[in-house]
Amino acid sequence: MKNSIARRAAVVLALLVSVSGIAGAQTQTLNINVAKIVQFAFNASAVSLTISTATAGVDPAPATGSSTWALTNNTSNALLSASLDSPMPTGMTLSVLLGVPTGSTSATVSLTGVSQQVADLTKSAAAGLGVTYTLTAPASAGNYVGTRVVTYTVVAGS
């Protein structure tokens, strides 16, 4: 019985020393925040589109021109829209197709003076994405020399 009490006392001593060698944990709390970020930039160089040839009996061949753009987007389903500063002459069309990061979608859109959605963007950071413009001008639309400004706007997603 005495030995038993002595052993218990020794165990108590060992436990007390083992748990008290290192003081308790310390904590520090910080608040993190990652804002919705949608940054995009189009190559500032002007794109020239010239229709100059046709096969006799067929409307002039469309002209295409390309450029690039870059995107940083950390939101889901950010919507990119485009519009012209003024409508095209009657019968002529100017359309755009954007290259987009994997997971995003885009489609060829005929631009007007009204803002139209051109892409649905997923979370990504990518540069050197393609932009292709196509100008069509059937013979009935006549000839024309002019400038158009395409304005892109984005609405961040969730």
Binding site: K2, I5, A6, A9, A10, V12, L13, L16, V17, V19, S20, G21, I22, A23, G24, A25, Q26, T27, Q28, T29, L30, N31, I32, N33, V34, A35, K36, I37, Q39, F40, A41, W69, A70, L71, T72, N73, N74, T75, S76, K123, S124, A125, A126, A127, G128
Partner: protein
């Protein structure tokens, strides 16, 4: 014999009391003022810039005569969105070695300082944090995260 057993127990309690206040790490402030906020990318096409809070606080470390190689461990209590990382950098006391910027993991201690000598007693050692959030990781509103620091002999 009973008095001798009581004497032994009393000795144990006294020893315990003297050890509990010696080896420790103390972090201040307990709550870092202001948010650690990622707000922009350096340019379109690049991932958002990491943000660093260089002076998020300080810590004090006290070691015992019998602790020749004490380490400071840190772990996260809380989950970061997939793809985001929160790293901590702790300045080491003389003789110790800082692990540099170490990514914190929820529920798993990682070493931030090692080789702390015995009988160390240093205050005002700097703590900094860096939050990295690539675009693919998305965004997150203000979220509190707790970092737990412990000493390991």
């Amino acid at each position: 014999m009973k008095p001798s057993v009581l004497c032994l127990l009393t000795t144990a309690l006294l020893l315990s009391g003297s050890r509990a206040v010696v080896a420790q790490v103390t972090v201040t402030p307990p709550i870092v003022i202001g948010n650690l906020s990622v707000t922009s990318a350096p340019a379109a096409g690049l991932n958002p810039s990491p943000v660093t809070r260089a002076n998020a606080g300080t810590y004090t470390v006290v070691t015992l005569n019998k602790d020749p190689n004490t380490r400071i461990m840190a772990q996260l209590s809380g989950t970061l969105p997939v793809g985001m990382t929160l790293s901590v950098t702790a300045t080491a006391p003389n003789g110790g070695v800082s692990a540099g910027a170490v990514d914190l993991i929820n529920g798993t201690p990682v070493m931030v300082v090692s080789g702390i000598r015995s009988n160390t007693n240093r205050t005002g050692l700097a703590i900094s944090y860096t939050l990295t959030a690539p675009a693919s990781a998305g965004n997150v509103g203000t979220t509190p995260l707790t970092v737990i620091f412990t000493l390991t002999p």
